[in-house]
Structures are given as structure tokens and as C-alpha cells.
Subunit: 267 residues, 2 copies
């Protein structure tokens, strides 16, 4: 995500610097010539930055935020790109007032992490969710809108708690379903996993560390979604068992209608 | 499916004729110039056919099979393309011995039916499942293999009961999950349904009649899959609640490994 953002921003900002703990990633970024410098420790580049963007799994972002005041002596906008927002925004809100903070989450659905999958068009037409906090300035809000526009994304403002609730239904539950679907495959089924299985199971390959942090940082919402989902499965089961065809067809139609109202149609 | 097959076969067979109960579809097929003739009633073209291919929802195929002996006075290969195989193969087996019968199911995952979505490349690299029956001749088996090869598909032979069991896990359960996922979306979630939601929910738009017939003709397997699936969801829920991170990560890894072993890697 960080690599995709740097690539999408290249040529549109004065200077791009990056930090990554992985030496292989640093080598890749260096050979791609995307940034002016890439270092191991954020403290080497933070004092020079007007804008600090935290692109990492949720757990890493939560560890990085409290260190920013020690690393950066001056003023800066601090934006994160974490997949869940409640815990991160709480941390961002605790930063000293010289930091102008903003929670962010580009909803791009990239399954595979790593710089080798970086893609400057990742954000095109994607929703970029932003959460403004009690200490977010009007300037920082405008920065968010401008950033989204400059990478072709569509900004959308949302409360962090609401974000995590909605995403538990539209993103985190789908991961659990994809993983459970894979775990449910019978022996000898490989040849018979067609395009339907492929799209349904795709999210099971989501970057492990990223998804693990999502599950842990949004546990209560995800547990609720699993319970609700089991209830809907039970509804399908009952209608099938009772051979209640009119109600089964009505349920199928309702699901198809919801599937069809996509993001793009609404915008 | 019938339109896609006709298109894929065009130029490779002496003559193609088609029957469709829908006059709009007949008009479309006629203007596309894909077949020599397209009629309303199969009985008009069946007597002229060496090979009869039944491309329709499972329920329609089950209604058509017993009528074939009245419509066709001579010998013919009869192949169906239905999504479930047990009920259809039982019917095919009952046809008089002048018919050489074969169950078939190209696993292409086409969600939208109708001639407007016909695509001659639909079968390319797809598995074409075949079920040979007690009355299937060696010649008819070779016909299946040749047919698959001529449209770029990969033939795979499977027992009808095993087919329906495996497909309940790899195709029919995924439909139920996609539909239930849609039904579970909260108010105000439209903007936050990203690419992950789109791929996970895609099957909820599967052609209604086709899927309804699948659910009804494979009810016992699908009910079993729903129960097993709920058990796996419960496993995820327990591990999340207990914060059992090692076991949760192990489960995630197992799911990702299964997702990665795709059909193509195996072949």
C-alpha cells in the first residue's frame, strides 16, 4: 500500500522519503527509484517531513504512533492507512497538538502485500475513507481531500467506530467466509473449483499479518457479524428443508438486488 | 451456455441447429447467424440431429429428457450441460438404447445467463465434467473428449453422486455464502463495499432460475455443507473469543494454502 501510494504520488509532491524495516523491500524500492531516500528507521527521515503517512498493518501503526513525537521535533500532518480505525484514531488523538492528525483507509481490496505488488492505479475510483478527529484541522481535512483526488480516489468521511462496524460486514466477514470456504473443501475437489470458487475464496490469500491485525483490532464487531451470518445461513437451511420455494426465491432476489447496487452505480 | 457452446463449435461441425422457448432469444440467435436454424420446439429439429445437447436449467433438462424418444425416431448421442448430475443422469439412463447418453457439466462459473452473455471462449481451460453411465458407449466417451478438446476445455470424468457432493462444496455453498453476505450488509454500507466484497458477493447475481434448480436438485448435499460450514465459523469464533492467536494463525495459513492450490497449478 505504501509503495502504491508513493508511485501514485510521484511527480505530484516535492519530495518522497520512505522507511521500511525489511532490507529486501528497501532494495526493491531503491532500484525502482520511486523515492529520494529509503531508510530502515523512520527517525532518520521524520524530522524532514511535512506529512507523515503510516502504511503498515494495524498493529505496527499502533506501535509507531506513540514514537512519532520523539522522532519528529516539529509540526506535521500525520495520516495512517490502517484497515481498522477505532484503536488507531484513539492513538492519533493522543499525539501532541503540533501534529495535525487524520485517520485514513483506502478501500482497494489488495490481497497481496509487498512492494512487488505495488500499483500506482490501485486507488483509481476507490473510496478513500477518512476519519477526522477532535484535533483535525480544516487544513488537514483539505489535505485528505487533495491527496485522494491526486491519486484518483474518492474521499468519504466516516466516524472510526462506524467504519469498523461497516467494514466488519463488508470486508472482515468476507475474509472469514473465504477462509472457512477453503477449509471446507472436500478431498478430490481441486479440479472442480471453478471461477465461482476462485472469486469466493480469493480473500483467503489476504496478507496474513495484515488480516491477523484486522481480526484482533476489530474482534467484537467480527464476532457479531459471524453470529448474524449464521442466523442468515439458518434461514436458507430452513427454507431449503421446508421446500418453501416462494420464500427461498424472495431471499435469492433480495440478495441479487443488494449485489447489484455496487459502489459505482451509487456515485 | 448453449449460445456459448454453439459459438465455440461454429465451423467445427457440419451443421448446428437450436431450439429455445423464448422468442427474443431466438431473434438474437437468428441475427447472430450462429446456427442454421433456430426453432421454438425441439421436435422440429431433433429428427435431423446426430447429437442432442441439452443446455438449460436442471429442471428444464429433467422435463426434456423423457420427451426425446417421441421427438427423435432414430439414433443420437444425448449430452446434457446441467449444473447437477445425479437426477439428470438417472433420467438419461432410462432413455431407450438407441440413444447414447452422457452427463456433462462445463465448470465455467458464468453468473449471467442469456444469449447476450454468450462467449465462445467461455470453455477455454475450463474443466468439462463428464459422467458416463451404464449405457454410455466407448464412442460416446470419445465424443465427450473430442467435444471438450474442440472448445478448449479439459475433460474430467466423475461419478454423478460424487459430482454433486463436490460441487455442493465448491459451487453451491459459495452461492449461499455470497447471497447471505449480501443479506447481511448493514445500512449505509454501499460506499464501503470494495473489491473484496465484490468478489465475495459476485455469485449472488447468478441466474435465478439456474441456481434455484441447483439448490432444489442438490438439497441434501447443500444442507450438509451449510452445517459443516457453520461448524468452521464456530471454530473461528472460538479462537477469536479465546484470543488463541497461534491456532488462529494456523487456521488462516491452512486456508491460504488451500486457496493457492488452484486448478491450473495442478494441471
Amino acid at each position: 500500500m505504501g509503495g502504491s501510494l508513493a508511485w501514485a504520488l510521484k511527480g505530484q509532491v516535492n519530495s518522497l522519503m520512505a522507511a521500511d524495516p525489511d532490507s529486501h523491500t528497501r532494495d526493491q524500492v531503491r532500484s525502482a527509484g520511486l523515492v529520494e531516500s529509503i531508510v530502515e528507521n523512520p527517525e532518520e527521515i521524520l524530522p524532514l517531513s511535512d506529512v507523515v503517512i503510516l502504511a503498515a498493518p494495524v498493529g505496527s501503526i499502533l506501535e509507531l504512533i506513540p514514537k512519532i513525537p520523539d522522532w519528529h521535533p516539529g509540526q506535521a500532518i500525520v495520516l495512517d492507512l490502517g484497515s481498522t480505525k477505532e484503536q488507531i484514531c484513539k492513538q492519533l488523538e493522543k499525539l501532541p497538538s503540533r501534529f495535525d492528525v487524520l485517520g485514513g483507509h483506502p478501500i482497494c481490496g489488495q490481497v497481496q502485500g509487498g512492494f512487488e505488488h505495488a500499483n500506482p492505479d490501485l486507488f483509481r475510483d476507490a473510496i478513500f475513507a477518512f476519519s477526522d478527529l477532535s484535533n483535525t484541522s480544516a487544513r488537514c481535512r483539505r489535505f485528505g481531500e487533495d491527496l485522494a483526488a491526486s491519486i484518483g480516489a474518492i474521499p468519504s468521511w466516516i466516524d472510526p467506530i462506524q467504519h469498523d462496524y461497516i467494514l466488519s460486514a463488508t470486508s472482515h466477514l468476507p475474509y472469514i467466509l473465504a477462509a472457512a470456504l477453503c477449509l471446507n473443501t472436500p478431498e478430490g475437489s481441486i479440479l472442480y473449483r471453478g471461477p465461482g470458487f476462485e472469486s469466493s475464496s480469493r480473500l483467503a490469500s489476504t496478507n496474513r499479518r495484515m488480516m491477523f491485525d484486522v481480526l484482533n483490532s476489530n474482534r467484537h464487531n467480527i464476532l457479531q457479524q459471524i453470529d448474524q451470518f449464521k442466523y442468515i445461513l439458518e434461514e436458507f437451511k430452513d427454507l431449503l428443508q421446508q421446500e418453501n420455494n416462494p420464500k427461498l426465491l424472495a431471499l435469492m432476489d433480495r440478495a441479487a438486488a443488494i449485489q447489484k447496487e455496487t459502489t459505482r452505480e451509487v456515485l
